[in-house]
C-alpha cells in the first residue's frame, strides 16, 4: 500500500489559474517532506518542509506541511505554460540511509 499519495493524478488548467496539489501520507517518523518539479529529465528541487504550519514560498509557488492532518499542499498561482510538469512529493525517513518514499506524482498541464 502506498505510503505517500498525491492527488490529483493529473490536472489541466489554463494560464492564470491557481492550482493546489495535494500530498497525503501515513507515517509520522520522517525528517522532512520534499517537493520536486520534473519536466523532461531529472527532477528539480522546489521545497523542503520540516516544520508544521510554516509556509515556504518561492515566487508563485508556495507549500505548507500539516503534521497533524498528515498532508502537504503545493500551490501555484497565476500558472504559466512553463509550470507544466510532473510534481513529486517525497518523504525523507529517519534512518542512516535517508530513505525516501516518493508519491506517484501529479501531472500538471497548463494550456495557453
Amino acid at each position: 500500500e502506498d505510503k505517500v499519495v498525491q492527488s490529483p493524478l493529473s490536472l489541466v488548467v489554463h494560464e492564470g489559474d491557481t492550482v493546489t496539489l495535494n500530498c497525503s501520507y501515513e507515517v509520522t517518523n520522517f525528517r522532512s517532506l520534499l517537493w520536486y518539479k520534473q519536466e523532461k529529465k531529472a527532477p528539480t528541487f522546489l521545497f523542503m518542509l520540516t516544520s508544521s504550519g510554516i509556509e515556504k514560498k518561492s515566487g508563485r509557488l508556495s507549500s505548507i506541511l500539516d503534521k497533524k492532518e498528515l498532508f502537504s499542499i503545493l500551490n501555484i498561482t497565476a500558472t504559466q505554460t512553463g509550470d507544466s510538469a510532473i510534481y513529486l512529493c517525497v518523504l525523507v525517513f529517519l534512518n542512516a540511509g535517508n530513505m525516501l518514499t516518493f508519491g506517484g506524482g501529479t501531472r500538471l498541464m497548463v494550456k495557453p
Binding site: 531529472a42 527532477p43 523542503m48 506517484g104 506524482g105
Partner: protein, 112 residues
C-alpha cells in the same frame, strides 16, 4: 560545489544483453547514493541505495544489481536485460540530514 554525472543518457539494448549505468558525484564525501527507476509519467521507484563503499541495499527484487566500488561512484548493472527493464533511470545523492536529494540527468533505457 557538488555535481553529479550520470551516463549514458540514452541506451538501446537487445533483450539478454548486459547493462552498465554509471554515476559519479563530485564535491562531497561519503554521500548516500541512490538508483531510481521511473515509469512513464509517474513517480520514482527506489531500486538501490548505499550509505558507503560496498554497502548496497535493494528495495525491489529484480533483474538488476548495484555496486559502489568507490566512495563517489555508483553503478547499476544487469547480466541479462529483460523487456520490462526499459525505463528512465535516475541516480541521486544526499547527505545525512534533512534529506535534500540531488539528481543526475537520467538515463533512458530501451530494451528491444
Amino acid at each position: 560545489s557538488q555535481t553529479i554525472h550520470q551516463w549514458p543518457a540514452t541506451l538501446v539494448q537487445p533483450v539478454g544483453s548486459p547493462l552498465s549505468l554509471e554515476c559519479t558525484v563530485e564535491g562531497t564525501s561519503n554521500p548516500n547514493l541512490y538508483w531510481y527507476r521511473q515509469a512513464a509519467g509517474r513517480g520514482l521507484q527506489l531500486l538501490f541505495y548505499s550509505v558507503g563503499i560496498g554497502q548496497i541495499s535493494s528495495e525491489v527484487p529484480q533483474n538488476l544489481s548495484a555496486s559502489r566500488p568507490q566512495d563517489r561512484q555508483f553503478i547499476l548493472s544487469s547480466k541479462k536485460l529483460l523487456l520490462s527493464d526499459s525505463g528512465f533511470y535516475l541516480c541521486a545523492w544526499s547527505v545525512v540530514g534533512p534529506g535534500e536529494l540531488f539528481f543526475g540527468e537520467g538515463s533512458r533505457l530501451t530494451v528491444l
